[in-house]
């Protein structure tokens, strides 16, 4: 079994290659089904392969595929342990559903097959990332998912905005990757290897706190880039230019959570760098509330989800930062369910509204598309943290752990709580704006119920969003035990013991959730005019949020523009005139010298004679001077 573990990556990859070459002949929907089948198969395979872990018996095992860069101890090896297994299941599971959804969503697109090629390639890359047995291979997947995100965001490349967004995503990610690379340099130089086993085993003996912190923070930089944390989150909202299934799969469920995964994976290093962990948590908390506020005021249905994703990722960072790794992973999983569901639902809505994304032009859709409506409703409740939805358990565990950690973290706990409030508010706002109230559709738009093929994944995800939380309910902590072997020897933060404390905290977050949701209902059930007045009333704050604090403009003004200036200066102000000028100058100097000397050759014999005599005198004088 374990020897064929590579099939998990291999199947989607194979499908991708196949589709790349024969896809256009398969056409739709066949190529879509092929892709879905591939990833589905690897889900099944992963499930079977993961069975041993459920009874906690099996050991983690690594499989060496082949040497990659021996000089730096980098090889392609798969590590199969509960954590990677869990991630694999999430990726393949959610992935399969989204694939299926996409078959009908992408219906009619001229580059249908290409889309599934890229989607499968992404799946393969993501699996490479989570199955990697060493940092080098992890980085391989890390970058490949970035590539696929680039390809898929820019899938509709004829839209300049899409192309720009794709480039932005990749470049911003690259900024993080620089940090990541430097981290790897440090790791290799300290350990002489990049394999997880080797590194984590010897970390305590090898690493000084200083180095550990350095590595950890650099990893954080990388993670912040990939997982859209402050200040590198700006690419994610733009990434919504991609087709909605892409947003669901890459920019909600899987890729963006890679950062969380890496930090959890590197727990052994963070263990030695508490300061770094605190930083992670703080970054997470800030991101969470920052993005939540922005999400409040968005009109674009997908932008709301995008910022909520950023915010939720902030939660996960808060979790892993407060070393509640399991909680982080847990939330990662549940979030994958309900956020994927939300995106797919939004996709269905957009599909139905003929690519209308402005929520002000929606409303009253519940009657038209009940399945979508209800499933999205469930997801909204889930994300709002209303029990017994999945989101409740995971989010609550995060907050509880942060609270339990105490000190600075209790402040972060408060932020988290406030964010919870905001979250439920803007999510409910969205749901209400889209599905309730009177239709505000622009004329000609005739919403139709989502095709069945779209509906099925929605329902499945809805179910998961409801019961997904039960894998790690308090006091049973199935997931906790499942992941124990991964984090053994590492102090993992747990929620407070004792039912009382738990109830208090849970109560708090539930209250927050309900309050937010209630407020949203109250506000947005009323006719448009009134809630528009409400939003007006919150100016200018509301406007600032709507414009996402103008961060893009700030970056543009502070980084991009000056950078371009600098480049132009060095190209046309330094390179051409100075450096090249010097080269040509030297050449010109000799030619000029020649022209200067030419008159010496006057053509007059008597001048020649004078020159000759002068030469003679010099020669003789020199000889005498040297010889006597």
């Amino acid at each position: 079994m374990i020897d064929f573990i590579w099939l998990i990556i291999g199947l989607p990859l194979l499908a991708a290659i196949l589709l790349h070459f024969v896809g256009r002949y398969l056409g739709e929907p066949l190529s879509g089904w092929l892709a879905s089948a591939a990833i589905g198969a690897s889900f099944v395979f992963a499930l079977v392969a993961a069975l041993p872990f459920f009874d906690g018996g099996a050991e983690a095992s690594t499989v060496l595929l082949w040497e990659w860069m021996p000089a730096i101890g980098a090889s392609l090896e798969i590590q199969w342990d509960p954590l990677s297994a869990l991630m694999t299941l999430v990726v393949t599971g959610v992935g399969t559903l989204i694939h299926v959804f996409a078959i009908s969503y992408m219906h009619g697109d001229p580059r249908f097959a290409r889309f599934f090629t890229d989607l499968n390639l992404f799946a393969a890359s993501m699996l490479t990332l989570v199955l990697a047995g060493n940092y080098a291979m992890l980085f391989l997947g890390w970058e490949l998912v970035g590539l696929c995100s680039y390809l898929l965001i820019g899938f509709w490349f004829t839209r300049p905005s899409a192309a720009a967004a794709a480039k932005k995503a990749f470049v911003v990610n690259r900024i993080g990757d620089v940090g990541f690379m430097v981290a790897l340099m440090l790791v290799f130089t300290s350990f002489g290897t990049l394999t997880f086993a080797g590194v984590f085993e010897r970390a305590p003996d090898v690493l000084t706190t200083g180095t550990a912190t350095a590595i950890a923070l650099l990893l954080l930089v990388g993670a912040a880039g990939k997982s859209a944390q402050v200040p590198l989150y700006v690419w994610l909202p733009d990434a919504m230019e991609g087709p909605t299934p892409v947003s669901a799969l890459i920019h909600a469920a899987t890729m963006v959570t890679a950062g969380v995964y890496v930090i959890a994976r590197s727990a052994a290093i963070f263990e030695l760098a508490p300061a770094a962990s605190t930083t992670v948590a703080t970054v997470g908390a800030i991101t969470a509330i920052w993005a939540a506020t922005i999400a409040l005021a968005q009109r674009d249905i997908k932008k709301v989800l995008a910022y909520s994703t950023v915010s939720q990722l902030g939660y996960m960072f808060l979790a892993v930062g407060s070393t509640a790794y399991v909680a982080g992973i847990f939330h990662l999983m549940t979030h994958a369910f309900f956020k994927a569901l939300l995106f797919l639902g939004a996709g269905a809505v957009i599909h139905a509204m003929h690519d209308e994304q402005d929520m002000h032009k929606m409303g009253g859709l519940l009657k038209r598309m009940p399945v979508t409506g209800f499933t999205m409703g469930i997801a909204t409740l889930a994300i709002a943290g209303i029990p017994p939805m999945a989101g409740f358990w995971s989010k609550d565990e995060i907050l509880a752990s942060a609270f339990e950690r105490g000190g600075w973290f209790s402040f972060l706990f408060v932020i988290g709580l406030v964010t919870a409030l905001l979250t439920s508010f803007y999510m409910s706002r969205q749901w209400v704006l889209v599905f309730l109230g009177e239709p505000r559709w622009s004329e000609g738009v005739e919403p139709h119920r989502a095709p069945r093929l779209m509906g099925v994944p929605l329902i499945i995800l809805a179910v998961l969003s409801i019961f997904g939380g039960l894998v790690n309910t308090p006091f049973r902590y199935t997931l906790e035990h499942f992941l124990e072997p991964v984090f053994e020897g590492i102090s993992v933060q747990h929620p407070p013991e004792g039912i009382g404390m738990f109830l208090i905290l849970a109560g708090l977050s539930v209250v927050a959730g309900l309050a937010g949701a209630g407020a949203a209902f109250v506000t947005y059930r009323q006719p448009a005019s009134s809630w528009q007045r409400f939003e007006e009333g919150l100016q200018p704050l509301w406007g600032t949020w709507e414009n996402a604090y103008r961060v893009d403009d700030v970056y543009g003004g502070m980084l991009v523009a000056p950078g371009k200036k600098a480049a132009e200066l060095s190209a046309f102000g330094v390179d051409l005139p100075l450096i090249d000028g010097a080269v040509n100058g030297i050449a010109g100097f000799f030619v000029g010298l020649g022209a200067r000397l030419r008159p010496l050759q006057t053509g007059y014999v008597r001048n020649y004679a004078a020159l000759l005599l002068a030469g003679a005198i010099v020669v003789v004088a020199w000889l005498l001077a040297g010889g006597l």
Binding site: T602, Y604, R606, N607, A610, L613, A614, I617, V620, A621, L624, L628
Partner: protein
């Protein structure tokens, strides 16, 4: 005693002639000056027992060469005064500079070094050894120097052929 007197006179004559060659505005005068120098130098030869060479000097130079010079001067009619003003830029300055430079070098040699004209001079002069009679010259000329003597033939051939090639216009060529 006598030798010294003659030497002084002839040295002056030679230099005077040379100066004439350079400064005379009329080529004819220059030629006459050259003639004077040649004669004076010939006498200096005689003073040093180079009788044969002196004779050749008079015959070949004064006789043939100089006549040729005058002949050409007349032929191409440049026997008229030339202006003295210098129309080449810097030439005059150059001449002055170079002249003084040479004098400086010479003065330096004479004053600051134990300059000897003939460091290899033998202490005792043996007049017979350099008594330039015809026999004395002929003997090395036709033994040691014979090949050089032959080479002079080439020289004269070239002179002849060259003169023809340059100056002799056959009817066809004109």
């Amino acid at each position: 005693m006598v030798e010294s007197l003659v030497f002084v006179l002839m040295a002056i004559a030679a230099v005077a002639g040379a100066v004439t060659v350079v400064v005379a505005r009329n080529p004819v005068y220059s030629a006459i000056g050259l003639l004077g120098t040649l004669f004076a130098v010939a006498v200096l030869y005689v003073l040093q027992l180079a009788h044969f060479v002196a004779a050749v000097q008079i015959i070949v130079y004064a006789g043939a060469v100089l006549t040729l010079f005058l002949f050409v001067i007349m032929l191409i009619g440049v026997d008229k005064d030339e202006t003295r003003e210098e129309n080449l830029p810097y030439q005059r300055k150059a001449v002055i500079a170079l002249g003084s430079a040479i004098i400086l070098v010479a003065a330096g040699l004479a004053l600051f070094t134990d300059f000897q004209w003939v460091p290899a001079a033998s202490e005792a002069l043996i007049p017979e050894s350099t008594n330039g009679t015809i026999e004395a010259i002929a003997e090395p000329l036709f033994t040691t120097w014979v090949v050089a003597f032959q080479a002079t033939a080439l020289l004269l051939t070239i002179a002849a052929a060259g003169a023809i090639a340059l100056a002799h216009y056959r009817k066809r060529d004109i």
